[in-house]
């Protein structure tokens, strides 16, 4: 298990609209040359707001499924 998993960005599907930057609550993502880059990976909370607000599905968060304690 990698504790530093980050959202996957698909540049070819990205229109560079910047909504992910606007919605990121920790400012972990910025547009670099018109495309989003997670410039502060340690700040990414993996909250999924970038994925939820991306109009083209260019950002994805992947999850493993397991059992855990409450």
């Amino acid at each position: 298990m990698q504790d530093w998993a980050l959202p996957t960005i698909h540049p070819q599907e990205c229109t560079g609209c910047g909504l992910c930057v606007q919605y990121c609550p920790t400012a972990a993502v910025e547009l670099v040359d018109g495309k989003p880059v997670i410039v502060r990976p340690a700040d990414c909370a993996y909250c999924g707001l970038c994925e939820e607000n991306c109009p083209t599905g260019a950002i994805e968060l992947a999850y493993e499924i397991g059992f855990g304690a409450a």
Partner: protein
């Protein structure tokens, strides 16, 4: 790519075959490697052979005119991908398939496979067993998609993929889960949030953790 007897033995259908039968099939078989996401088979195209997953996995799916995908089945090492094709009236693929993770597939010409099945009773019985299992899978899928709620389908999906004996630890995006469940990502996201609110699961960074297995099992029957 050369196919060895060990490659053939990895195919579940061939597990019980005598070495002489395997040796007869080996020169007819070919193998090909695919990268994650590579297309293996396209809906509407003719399949040149019957395909088997040797390494990695393959996802079989259909796409609607609007671009929505429905995953039909996820196949793992040893599974046959298009077993009905050599026996079907037409070799046209009824669905598409892509590689999940870097994968290697074995192919046998349709006529050679049909001939082998007609000459080797154990192989013919194994083919029937595989087709029966597939029929059962699609009966269950039809029930799930037409009669089970999205909450029920998602609960069932989480329980199935959280079990320790799952074939391989896979990381799922909500888009992929939606394609499995016959819905869209927004609905999966909303339903996951509802499960979190109800204390059934917890999102722990890149993990979905099941907290209340019994409640989720009850939910999976809905």
């Amino acid at each position: 790519m050369t196919v060895t007897l060990d490659d053939l033995r990895r195919v579940k259908l061939f597990a019980g075959l005598a070495p002489a039968s395997l040796a007869a099939l080996a020169p007819l078989a070919s193998a090909r490697s695919y990268r994650d996401g590579d297309s293996i088979l396209l809906e509407g195209e003719e399949a040149a052979g019957v395909l088997f997953v040797l390494e990695g996995a393959a996802r079989v799916y259909r796409t609607s005119p609007e671009g929505r995908e429905q995953t039909l089945i996820l196949l793992h090492a040893g599974d046959a991908l298009n077993l009905p094709t050599p026996f079907a009236p037409s070799p046209v693929a009824p669905a598409s398939a892509v590689a999940v993770g870097d994968s290697r597939l074995l192919a046998l010409p349709l006529a050679a496979f049909r001939r082998a099945a007609s000459e080797i009773p154990d192989l013919a019985l194994a083919v029937m067993g595989d087709l029966a299992a597939r029929l059962r899978h699609f009966t269950r899928l039809t029930y799930d998609l037409s009669l089970r709620s999205v909450r029920g389908r998602l609960a069932r999906f989480l329980l199935r993929h959280a079990s320790a004996d799952a074939p391989s630890p896979v990381r799922w995006t909500q888009e992929e889960v939606a394609a499995q469940l016959g819905t869209v990502r927004e609905v999966v996201s909303r339903t996951l949030r509802a499960f979190v609110r109800e204390g059934l699961i917890r999102l722990d960074r890149q993990r979905i953790l099941i907290l209340d297995r019994e409640a989720l099992e009850r939910e999976s029957e809905s």
